[in-house]
Symmetry: C2
Subunit: 311 residues, 2 copies
């Protein structure tokens, strides 16, 4: 088998690796803990190198079968220069020419980009967004990330940081946010906020979101109410996106989205009630299809874009 | 002179006509009152026909010198089918094949689109947005309209109604809006709201925005405070656009923007304080350059796009 792509999804807690074939199957996967190598960026890079070689060896895939490597990272990336500008949640990563470093090691074309953009690319070509020219992808997790496919292309923005749905303010006043602003969407529906809300409603600091999901399945009123309130915030945030971009499709992924059964009907209702008629009528809200693999799939799409100068 | 374009900007109160040459000069202009022909759409169309012929005659330009006609209208337009879907402020305009009607009359290629999108196209190629691949254009007036140039192209959205900046909610709660939603940006900075605000602050229902501008020039504290409060709302609304789209440029036009001297410094400050650092650092906020002619210029750009099937 030839024309395989190696995808690497660098997260704040875990680095996921996988090899995708041309048909869009992930053949093999592995992962390592980011936190173990947090003190030194070179340690993390060397650890990823070792994991790539081990993955190839274990799966009996040779480097000659790999046509390129795509890497997603949680922060500001310049995909044209192949430069990691900064990673807010992984210390000491600033202005790292990661594309060049990987090309030197493996002698293959390498592309890098922001992780939410990689997920968006993956869902667009292999997941819930197949065949669309325009879509919005949103990830609900610790943070609220996003990516935009507009006019048949990933839209990156002037500084490659477009898509920050989580930092659209949803109120003129509100709590301050990590981003330096306040009243942000993420401040209402990010994981930390949801856990605080759960602790307040149930009076139990140890209750997790899956615990509340389990309660909702048993029709617990407080749990159902919790999800409804969260969904109203999500709907309110998305109305701005729907009216501004008139997308035919919004894909919602990320850990929190696995509660979609209790979230999506209300999100849909809020958008129908509050967004402009034409926009509301045509937008579909769907759950992401690729789960944890989305970024790995995105690597394949990113490489096909052929950004940057390759070795 | 050849290769002239006739631009027609249909507004709720006035229809403006102009002829633009290839260098981007408006050679001649005329206008008519929309309201005089409000009762019947065919009356308005016939009146525009007559004004086009009079404009050509008066300026000694022959139809053979005109390479095409571009028409902007205040509502939902399908530029590919050349169809006026609906015009909220001009009664009885629904599903009007305006492109075909004009092509039949003049035997020239005709393109039609939404007026805010025409202004955006005009400012992009001939005004404040020259040379940019990405920009946001916002018009402040009776309504708050908008247009998006993304990835080097006008972004229309799935139903051709993208760009509704005025109907992005800026609060989760708020007054109901004409659009069917509530808490919209337009509800804070549209003309009607500004006049109400002026009446409240000054206790005078007859005071206009230009009157308050004149007071602000004399350093009247209430007038300065009025513009500051309006600018804070505009800034808050734009933070969402800046974080989502990471544009290098936001062009602000429309009647209210002529108070830019008292609005722009505060808009700029709010964006710097509240938007994400990379986005805030790179975005420039500028005043539109083409004034009332922007839509006429836009006709030239729209025709160059070559949408729809022409006669």
């Amino acid at each position: 088998m030839k024309n395989l792509v190696l995808g690497i999804d660098v997260g704040g807690t875990k680095v996921k690796l996988g090899i995708v074939d041309a048909k869009g199957c992930v053949l093999v996967r592995s992962s390592l803990s980011t936190k173990l190598y947090n003190r030194n960026k070179n340690d993390l890079i060397q650890a990823i190198f070792a994991h790539v070689r081990a993955l190839l060896k274990d799966s009996q895939i040779t480097l000659s079968q790999i046509s390129g490597i795509g890497i997603g990272l949680p922060g500001a990336i310049d995909p044209f220069k192949g430069l990691v500008i900064s990673l807010p949640n992984i210390p000491k990563w600033e202005n790292v020419p990661l594309q060049r470093i990987f090309e030197k090691e493996f002698g293959k074309p390498v592309c890098i980009d922001n992780d939410a953009k990689m997920i968006t690319l993956g869902e667009w070509k292999f997941g819930a967004g197949k065949g669309q020219d325009n879509l919005v992808c949103m990830t609900l997790g610790t943070g609220v990330g996003g990516g935009l496919i507009l006019n048949g292309k990933l839209y990156r923005g002037a500084g490659f940081v477009a898509g920050e749905i989580g930092h659209m303010p949803i109120n003129e006043k509100g709590h301050s946010c990590n981003c330096g602003g306040y009243g942000c969407f993420e401040g209402h529906v990010g994981n930390a906020q949801l856990l605080k809300k759960i602790a307040r409603i149930f009076g139990d600091k140890n209750l997790s979101i899956p615990d509340v999901h389990a309660l909702a399945l048993k029709a617990d009123k407080r749990a159902l109410r919790f999800f409804e309130e969260v969904a109203i915030h999500i709907g309110n945030g998305l109305v701005a996106v729907v009216n501004l971009l008139n997308p035919p499709l919004i894909i919602i992924g990320g850990g929190v989205s696995s509660n979609y059964r209790f979230l999506f009907p209300t999100i849909h209702r809020v958008i129908q009630e509050r967004a402009m008629k034409v926009q509301a009528k045509m937008v579909k809200i769907v759950h992401a299809k690729l789960g944890h693999d989305a970024g790995i799939f995105g690597a394949r799409v990113l490489l096909a874009e052929g950004l940057g100068k390759h070795a």
